[in-house]
């Protein structure tokens, strides 16, 4: 089957971490040629830290997040503090459709790679810049990662147990994947605009501004009611039960969203007496007596298995699911049933299952099962085949440490 773009688009990915690299990875899944540029000294920080192990461990090639977020890319190195490297990356950009960067706003212009410089080289270029807080504004230079971006976007303040205590950061650094996805949407809009006008453009994606809409309802609630929404924990303002309960060695999430569902749930858990208990007869009763209700349910499920309990409830049409750990999720019935996790073979680490796709195209499937590049793995391809440099030229770049396949910290020790 064909891919969405069949290699007809080329992206230069200058980003690090998750947000920008995810955008590049999603383009690679569409069949675009995505060239990831790293520096051998300041390589992608999501590869981890050299100080985590001895050199022969190749620690930076064993990062699960890096190896996931950079699948399908062509990997090259360039020391962008060197003017020769800047000339080379400009030559690449002149041949490209897309440039991805997620530095602070001043970095690209300082490198000599600002939009004003790049646009004349390639009028069809779509460039996306993904600063944390935006290219303008009093905090334009602020540093942010997924968790702190999620926090300033108003999400973290809403995460907390129902009975008080502190806020918690989410488990997935939400600011990062949301920026990668918002960035992809933005690039696709830029490409479509280009189809109509023939012109590229520079698109700015302030990562925080892509997260705020997710709490849009809380922002409006605060204006309509004059009250600041507080964390609700695992509870729901109208429905009960609605919670997470220890079950065997794991946890089960379950809820009843009507009186009928509650009675069904009580029977399914063997709590027949409770189905007729006046303390729990209506939603209002159950909300009023929610502590007692939760205690009854906790006692009923604590010795059962999480997966068996949720399966039993799902099978009778109730709302339930196991609270999946990183290990459990690999066996989730629905995800496995759809073949969500896909095997990928990657040098140094071998073959593992990686997350697949959330969008299933009937004719142009996404391709999530190609490995992430090793540091500088495709230098020959990028500088030789794409830019037409001679072997002697490439060797000179290696000698001058403008490109390489080892972290410069190690290469200089070896030399």
């Amino acid at each position: 089957m064909k891919t969405i773009v069949e290699g007809k688009l080329r992206a230069i990915d200058l980003s690090m971490g998750w947000a920008g690299p995810l955008l590049g990875e999603l383009l690679a899944e569409m069949g675009a040629e995505v060239i990831k540029i790293e520096d051998t000294l300041h390589f992608d920080w999501w590869r981890g830290s050299l100080s985590m192990g001895p050199p022969e461990m190749q620690v930076i090639e064993r990062s699960a997040p890096f190896n996931t977020a950079n699948r399908g890319k062509i990997g090259a190195t360039l020391d962008l503090t060197n003017p020769r490297a800047i000339e080379i990356v400009k030559r690449l950009i002149a041949t490209a459709d897309i440039v991805i960067e997620n530095y602070s706003p001043d970095v690209m212009p300082k490198l000599g790679l600002g939009w004003e410089t790049l646009a004349p080289l390639n009028p069809r270029l779509v460039m996306i810049s993904m600063p944390s807080f935006g290219a303008e504004g009093p905090e334009r230079n602020a540093r942010g990662y997924g968790n702190t971006i999620e926090a300033v976007a108003g999400v973290t303040g809403l995460v907390g147990y129902h009975d008080g205590g502190q806020p918690y950061t989410l488990s997935n650094a939400l600011g990062d994947p949301s920026a990668g996805l918002n960035g992809l949407f933005a690039v696709l809009v830029g490409l479509r605009e280009r189809e109509e006008t023939g012109r590229g453009q520079h698109i700015e994606l302030a990562q925080v501004e892509g997260v705020v809409p997710f709490v849009g309802e809380a922002i409006i609630e605060c204006q309509l009611t004059g009250r600041v929404p507080k964390p609700r924990g695992n509870r729901h303002p109208a429905h009960a039960p609605h919670g997470i309960y220890g079950a065997g060695s794991g946890y089960v999430a379950l809820a009843a969203e009507s009186d009928d569902q509650w009675r069904q749930l009580a029977h399914a858990l063997g709590l027949d007496a409770l189905a007729g208990d006046p303390r729990f007869a209506t939603e209002a009763d159950r909300k009023r007596n929610e502590d007692a209700l939760d205690a009854e349910i906790s006692a009923a499920v604590k010795d059962l298995g999480a997966e068996e309990t949720s399966r039993k409830l799902i099978d009778v049409g109730l709302i339930a699911g196991q609270v999946n750990s990183a290990a459990d999720i690999l066996g989730d019935a629905q995800l496995s049933g759809r073949g969500f996790f896909v095997p990928v073979e990657r040098a140094v680490v071998g073959t593992h299952l990686y997350p697949g796709v959330a969008e299933h195209f009937s004719e142009t499937p996404l391709v999530p099962d190609r490995p992430a590049p090793l540091l500088g793995e495709h230098n020959r391809k990028v500088f030789g085949e794409i830019l037409g440099m001679s072997d002697a030229e490439i060797e000179a770049l290696e000698r001058d440490k403008i490109i390489g396949t080892l972290p410069r910290q190690l290469a200089s020790k070896a030399a």
Binding site: F185, E217, I244, Y251, L335
Partner: protein, 405 residues
């Protein structure tokens, strides 16, 4: 605020609640022509909150906050798709359309006699994007689901909260929004595939559970590499070679995400404890992992003595990802966003003047324009049905009398 970029893109929107409407909201924000088709009694989200205090008994007058937010810049039409005449009008709407986007339970369109395979044959330019909880197939396709279970199965919930308590679910409907974003992406990708490689449209099946699993940080992969599962670590995101933590300070809470060696040195400087950067307990990433508890105790004590604003300002001055944690009322007044005119004041016909979040992207090619509020139920029936599809005034009256419109 919308950009009039995709003016030639025509979207027929059969969505309801959150994920589908957010997908079409994003498309409308970049200028696509979106016709939202609702049943004559209105889609479910019109009854959803947040409500004005005077509307809290369900009598919310056409819409609540969710609908008002998620349906700006769309045209609103009513059609009863259980009536053959309703389906017929939908078909006429689909002529010339690029996209049909829907988030009914799988199988619903088929039951209405609107099978996507048939649509794709009849309208070669058209792509159909379906967003559903579990996707179009699989053993749990028809299972009931809510946000609580979506987060739990997707892997988001397990690592959050106190070690000696039950895991803590994320708030709101974040995955539904992400699912909507995936839907908007799928729509753009389908058009790109049509124009670049296929020559015709196709069907895209978007699953919220997969959206959740895909945006979970990649720990199922890490687990296979290392055999380690991240457990709840209280105020810490995790115990690792970093300090990602939510800390109490004098007037609230702050978030710190100290990852690199350089950031750690800057953090030591911020705390006036430069000697810690060379302390053998903390001077490598590995040591900071091994001695994470000791390091946390030091950082914790320092934060308790300072205010959010000071920590945010002084941390950022040293290039440390460190922020004060706002509530949503404070978020609305944050100068970084207000100076960028990020929030847009719309004059909603029911809720009045409200400030809503703006577009996630800023296009160099266009200036943003003021949003149109979400449509009243059937607000554009005449414009679309008579103006575009050529239905006569008389026919429209008949359709209304028959409750088809």
């Amino acid at each position: 605020m919308p950009y009039s970029s995709l003016r030639k893109t025509r979207v027929v929107d059969l969505t309801h609640h959150i994920a589908g409407p957010y997908a079409t909201r994003l498309l409308a924000e970049v200028g696509a022509d979106v016709i939202k088709v609702e049943p004559p009694w209105g889609e479910g989200a019109r009854k959803a909150g947040p409500h004005l205090p005077s509307h809290s008994n369900g009598a919310n007058g056409d819409r609540g906050g969710r609908f008002a937010f998620l349906n700006t810049n769309k045209h609103g039409v009513t059609l009863n798709l259980k009536h053959p005449r309703g389906v017929e009008l939908l078909m006429r709407m689909l002529e010339g359309a690029d996209l049909l986007i829907e988030n009914f339970a799988p199988g619903t369109l088929d039951r209405l006699g609107i099978e996507s395979a048939e649509l794709l044959k009849r309208f070669p330019k058209l792509s159909v994007v379906s967003i559903s909880n579990f996707g179009a197939d699989g053993p749990d396709r028809d299972a009931r689901l809510n946000d609580l279970v979506l987060y739990a199965r997707g892997g988001w919930t397990y690592p959050v909260g106190e070690r000696d308590r039950e895991p803590l679910t994320p708030p709101g409907s974040l995955v539904q929004y992400l699912g909507g974003l995936f839907g908007a992406i799928a729509a753009m990708q389908a058009m790109l595939a049509r124009d670049l490689t296929l020559g015709h449209g196709q069907h895209v099946d978007v699953a919220l559970l997969e959206a959740a699993a895909l945006t979970m940080i990649y720990e199922p992969v890490g687990f296979q590499y290392s055999g380690v599962v991240r457990e709840r670590a209280g105020k810490r995101f995790a115990v690792g070679p970093f300090m990602i933590v939510t800390l109490k300070c004098r007037d609230g809470y702050a978030g710190l995400q100290c990852v690199t060696d350089k950031q750690f040195e800057s953090l030591c400087d911020l705390m006036g404890r430069g000697e810690l950067a060379t302390d053998a307990r903390f001077n490598t990433a590995l040591q900071r992992y091994v001695n994470n508890d000791a390091l946390l105790a030091i950082v914790e004590e320092f934060f308790l003595q300072h205010d959010r604003k000071w920590l945010h300002r002084e941390g950022q001055a040293r290039a440390i990802p460190l922020v004060g944690i706002p509530n949503v009322a404070e978020l609305l007044e944050w100068e970084q966003l207000t100076s960028r005119n990020y929030f847009e004041t719309i004059n909603d016909p029911v809720l009045g003047r409200i400030r809503i979040p703006g577009a996630p992207l800023r296009m160099g090619s266009h200036r943003p324009e003021p949003s149109r509020p979400a449509p009243l139920l059937g607000e554009h029936n005449r414009d679309i049905l008579c103006g575009r599809l050529g239905v006569s005034d008389r026919e429209l009256q008949d359709l209304q009398a028959a409750r088809t419109v």
